[in-house]
């Protein structure tokens, strides 16, 4: 039970994933939300690496590399959007960006 198995990684990754999701859902600060997104993406890497180990297959690791790449790209664009928003609104509060609705 205590011996670490793939199951442990899965559980941990899902907990991280959920914390990330919670951050996206609950926080109003855009920058925190962006960080939560990174959490979500990173949790997947745990999965991939754990499965890679489990399966003795490098695909998971390669996939994780791609994931990291994508996370980086998304962070860049996300922060770009944040800056654009900040320029217009002088805030990074998400509830200030709710003009579109209905």
């Amino acid at each position: 039970m205590l011996a670490v198995t793939t199951n442990h990684y899965l559980v941990l990754s899902f907990l991280l994933f959920t914390i990330g999701l919670f951050g996206i859902m609950a926080r109003r600060n855009l920058i925190t939300v962006l960080m939560s997104l990174e959490l979500v993406l990173n949790s997947v890497n745990l999965n991939l690496v754990a499965f890679s180990y489990q399966l003795s297959d490098l695909t998971g690791q390669v996939f994780a590399v791609f994931t990291i790449t994508v996370a980086a790209g998304e962070a860049a664009v996300g922060l770009g959007i944040l800056i654009a928003l900040f320029r217009l609104r002088e805030t990074t509060q998400l509830d200030q960006a709710a003009e579109l609705k209905g």
Binding site: N7, L21, G23, M35, L58, A76
Partner: protein, 172 residues
Amino acid sequence: MSGADLLFYLFAALALGAAVLVVSLRNPMYGAISLLATFLSIAALFLLRHAEFVAAVQIFVYGGGIMVLFLFVIMLVNLHRMRETTKYDRQTPLAAVLGVLLVALFVTVFAAASFGPPLARPEVFTAGARGISGNTQAVAWVLYRDYLLPFEIASLFLLIAMIGAVVLGRRT
């Protein structure tokens, strides 16, 4: 419980704790630092799973690149003005409930999932072609041989990220 297992629990706890801090700290600067802690813990967990290369990339890209980016932006947009007037949305309880439900659902499944013995062929992680050893080489071999196409597409992706960041960040 082996030492490796102990390390797992340690880093797992670290990662979780830091992650919780990320979503709960009011100050984004502290949040960013907690995020860094999470990233590093996860890198450590990678190491425990024979993913040395990924761990390194994790540290370089996340700890280096992404974290700097975050911190830079936090500075740029002037930290104190980023304080949330109210930290959480009104729907937070709902989000929490949903989170708990999801966790309950998935974790039950994950905990119960049965796998065979792991690491049937450990040589995969270290043995590249022609006897070259080491995880980096092994990953590189797979990456550039089998996954060359996604790799090339990833370059497109990064190009787009670059253009995007420029377009959005550029002062008009």
